[in-house]
């Protein structure tokens, strides 16, 4: 599956909750190059927020760590990768079950992966306990209007 990468960006930031807004706004700004609808942008922002919040809360519960965010623009699609080097997920299938949470005391709803699955077209979760987690999600951006051919 060699898709043509049109553009790519990477950011790394501390696992501080203040960065949740920074992360989703950055990806939304980057994704705007594909001329998405407001709906599509909202779906992307929510999904990024979920993935990044997971890393902040679950990967590094008692310490600060680094969250990595990479986004790639493909022909008519955005691919977003959120990764950490934290605790990892023991049972990914269980973690994906709606309303399942290990952090009920923090008022987490257990809906993070369900939202990502619903708002994006593809979701892949890879994790190794003690090493970290990588979440990769793709969303097709429908071409809403004829884009002018820009020559950069």
């Amino acid at each position: 599956m060699n898709k043509n990468i049109k553009n790519e960006m990477k950011i790394e930031f501390s696992s501080k909750s203040a960065n949740e807004a920074f992360a989703r706004i950055s990806v939304a700004a980057f994704a705007s190059q594909l001329d998405p609808t407001i709906e599509e942008i909202a779906d992307i922002k929510t999904s990024v927020s979920e993935a990044v919040t997971n890393s902040i809360i679950h990967a590094y519960p008692n310490k600060d760590g680094i969250v990595k965010l990479r986004a790639r623009l493909l022909e008519d699609e955005i691919e977003i990768e959120v990764s950490d080097t934290g605790e990892g997920i023991e049972n990914i299938e269980e973690a994906k079950v709606p309303l399942f949470t290990t952090k009920g005391n923090l008022e987490r709803s257990g809906m993070g992966f369900t939202i990502m699955e619903n708002f994006m077209d593809e979701l892949k979760v890879e994790s190794i306990v003690g090493l970290g987690t990588k979440v990769t999600m793709n969303k097709k951006i429908k071409k809403t209007k004829e884009l002018e051919k820009n020559t950069y």
Partner: protein, 111 residues
């Protein structure tokens, strides 16, 4: 978040003005529980009119306040929920226990 207390109706209104993510929810949670304990309202209403972003942290925030409101014998209602936010609530089933109501202030003015 703006907090409005209608003494005669025993209504406590939380008007959210920020993006409801995990970071903000932590702050709202503390403030709102403080206000609920202070006024022990019959009805707590959350106004989403000015919320232009919400993720799953919003669900946790609602379930948590549902519990703290119940503790004092009150009920929790939501208002001005747009379709984007509604979709997230519907996925979680939270609307089965917390209803969406019409705008309290408008109803108060006209009724």
């Amino acid at each position: 978040m703006n907090v409005k207390h209608f003494i005669e109706d025993k209504v406590l209104l939380f008007e959210f003005t920020e993006e409801l993510d995990h970071h903000i929810a932590e702050k709202i949670r503390k403030r709102s529980d403080y206000e609920i304990q202070r006024f022990m309202p019959k009805r707590v209403i959350m106004d989403f009119k000015k919320v232009n972003f919400m993720d799953s942290a919003g669900i946790g925030l609602i379930i948590g306040r549902y519990k703290s409101t119940n503790c004092y014998g009150g009920t929790l209602e939501l208002m001005n929920v747009n379709n984007k936010i509604k979709r997230i609530f519907e996925m979680s089933g939270v609307l089965k226990i917390v209803p969406i109501t019409s705008d309290f202030r408008e109803a108060k003015q006209t009724g």
